[in-house]
């Protein structure tokens, strides 16, 4: 068995064993989990898959960034800026059928711009992106709080949220009776594109080289590592921004203060479980989305605290990090089999 197949098998086996023992130990909670996550057409198509979309998009961006040795912890803030930009464009709504695509484009640009601040600070001033992206998260959160109570508040000025966007600016749904929207197709495109970029282009190779051995990349490879790192930061920010835009145009239809239940942070777990492989991000995001909607179901029907999902996410990260030498040191190191 190839190492990749073995790893996939191990993850599937671990999930299966966990699910079975869960069902044996706490059947009531397990049923609630099942019903809340994937047990019904509605739970799957209006809950879990909808939730997997932002996780997968941000997770793909983080996989690219982490591979390039760029520790973008600011997915949450970049998502929020994307949501703001998408709302602004969607509320104008004067571009007809082009409104939604334009809103997503603006969201992508805004996310890249927000991440770009941290990217430039790292490239020009040597500021650690871990710290600057955390700062930018706080600035973004306060900015959205301000906007939904100030200049962008809905006309009646009662609720801390923006006005609802027009129908024309909303992403089409995949079926009339479910909340799942066209964002699913965007996700598939993003993951496939990211996979092709990282494994089949020179720019993708330069990113991986920069992440795994920055000094060798600079001296032997003649790579401008700080520029490559900036590029990876911009890409991950763009994708987080896109996820924010998709949330506004596909799910919430307005800007809210709590537009994200921590997608930017959960996406770290998604990227790590996928071992920074853009294709593996898809099942990884699906798994975490299932975990989160299932946990909400357990809270509703069986009184099990939904915060337990965070415990499982953390445990999954630690388990993967412990068993893969890949997450050693600051920069992820590609395994021998993949470095070619």
């Amino acid at each position: 068995m190839s190492p990749r197949a073995r790893n996939a098998f191990l993850v599937v086996a671990a999930v299966a064993v966990a699910a079975l023992s869960f069902w044996a130990l706490a059947p009531e909670a397990a049923v609630a989990f099942w019903n809340g996550s994937i047990g019904s057409r509605n739970a799957l198509l209006s809950g879990t898959l909808v939730r997997a979309i932002p996780l997968a998009i941000i997770g793909t961006g983080l996989a690219i960034a982490f591979r390039a040795g760029v520790f973008n912890i600011g997915g949450e803030g970049q998502l929020m800026l994307g949501a703001v930009a998408a709302t602004l464009v969607a509320l104008r709504g004067d571009a007809g059928a082009l409104t939604a695509p334009l809103a997503l484009l603006a969201a992508t640009a805004a996310g890249a711009l927000w991440a770009g601040i941290a990217g430039v600070l790292r490239a020009r001033f040597g500021v650690l992106e871990v710290i600057s992206t955390i700062m930018l998260n706080f600035v973004a959160m306060n900015l959205v709080s301000y906007l939904v109570r100030g200049p962008m508040q809905e006309p009646s000025r009662i609720y801390p949220q923006s006005a609802a966007i027009a129908d024309v600016a909303q992403l089409p749904r995949l079926a009339p009776d479910v909340r799942l929207h066209i964002g699913l197709v965007i996700v598939l495109g993003v993951c496939a594109g990211a996979w092709w970029f990282t494994s089949h282009t020179a720019a993708g190779f330069r990113q991986r080289a920069t992440g795994s051995a920055p000094i060798a990349a600079r001296i032997a490879g003649g790579i401008d590592v700080s520029r490559v790192a900036l590029g990876a930061m911009l890409m991950s920010g763009a994708l987080a921004g896109l996820a924010g835009g998709i949330e506004v145009t596909g799910v919430t239809f307005a800007l809210y203060e709590h537009i994200s239940p921590g997608y930017g942070f959960s996406a770290i777990a998604v990227a790590v479980l996928a071992r920074l492989n853009p294709i593996a991000v898809l099942p990884s995001a699906l798994l975490f989305a299932t975990l989160e909607t299932g946990a909400l179901g357990m809270q509703r029907d069986a009184g099990v605290p939904s915060t337990f999902a965070a415990v499982l996410e953390a445990a999954a990260i630690l388990a993967i990090v412990a068993t893969h030498g890949w997450f050693r040191d600051a920069a992820p190191r590609p395994r021998a089999a993949e470095s070619a």
């Binding site: 001033f125 650690l128 777990a269 605290p305 990260i317 050693r328």
Partner: protein, 301 residues
């Protein structure tokens, strides 16, 4: 003027847990270890203090224990297995928030008062000085401890051999190793110190500030403390000053609301973060420990 005295009091009270956590994080970052799990340590400490809040001393001991529990996990992964600090730290923050939320909700609660909150210690005479008296000399013991830690940690870092060794590990672990310093041991101690103080900060939050535990009550203070360390340029005195700036900005929101100024308090809350980014741009390069966030390559003792 009548707003000034309560504002100063609120600023000092708000700054206390931030300063405690930031001083610990300063020590750990000077040893090259970025403890991103600090947020998790704070909430773990807060929950432990709430559980053991029969007497303040027991509460604080439990808080330190709660922080150390996460700290030990962090050390295991980061120092011994040499896994990535950022990812492990992020996971431990998730773990701390998730675990305390789960335990707390399992008791069927969403917010609960602690048995005994810590009383304020009034320093005789000094606490009756107008304007600043209440703010500086009528605070709980944890505030005095936080303030006391600043010169103590400064002295330890800059005036003792151990402090020198710790800073050497953060700047050049290979050189430190060659000089006979036990790099791993130093990093273990430094990381555990930050975890313990993170726990203590959580304890102060519950026992001295809120008098209650609530889910997610750490509310980003661990990340704030990391910002404070950067704004204070990794020096205890600077960190104390930065904590005061953050505490004041957070307390200012109440004043802004009370006075009905035409400024939104969300914008006021942004100031310290923007300030931190500016400070990093102006002084960033050179003041951060060279090996911050990176694991030493060879030093294995």
């Amino acid at each position: 003027m009548s707003e000034l005295s309560p504002f100063l009091e609120a600023a000092v009270r708000t700054a206390t847990p931030l300063l405690l956590a930031a001083i610990g994080e300063t020590v750990s970052q000077r040893a090259g270890v970025l403890n991103l799990g600090l947020e998790g340590c704070i909430i773990a400490g807060a929950y432990a203090a709430y559980v053991a809040s029969g007497a303040p001393v027991a509460g604080y001991a439990a808080a330190v224990g709660g922080g150390l529990l996460l700290g030990l996990t962090f050390v295991l992964f980061v120092v011994f297995l040499r896994r990535d600090q950022v990812i492990v730290g992020a996971a431990l923050t998730m773990l701390g928030l998730g675990l305390t939320g789960t335990l707390f909700r399992a008791q069927g609660q969403t917010g609960a008062l602690v048995a005994t909150a810590e009383p304020a210690l009034h320093v005789p005479v000094l606490s009756s000085i107008p304007v600043v008296g209440q703010a500086l000399f009528a605070q709980p013991a944890s505030t005095y401890l936080a303030v006391l830690l600043v010169p103590v940690v400064w002295w330890w870092l800059y005036r003792t051999h151990h402090g020198l060794a710790l800073r050497a590990v953060g700047e050049s672990p290979d050189a430190a190793h060659a000089a006979g310093i036990r790099v791993r041991r130093v990093q273990v101690v430094a990381a555990l110190f930050s975890a313990a103080l993170g726990g203590l900060a959580g304890g102060a939050l519950v026992l001295a500030q809120a008098g209650a535990f609530a889910e997610d009550m750490s509310a980003g203070r661990g990340f704030l403390a990391i910002a404070i360390v950067a704004l204070g340029r990794w020096r205890p005195l600077g960190v104390a000053l930065a904590a005061a700036v953050f505490g004041s900005a957070m307390a200012l929101q109440f004043v802004v609301q009370a006075l009905g100024w035409g400024v939104r308090y969300e914008l006021v809350l942004m100031i310290p973060y923007v300030l931190t980014l500016l400070a990093l741009v102006l002084f960033g390069r050179g003041s951060a420990p060279a090996m911050l966030g990176r694991a030493p390559e060879n030093a294995s003792s």
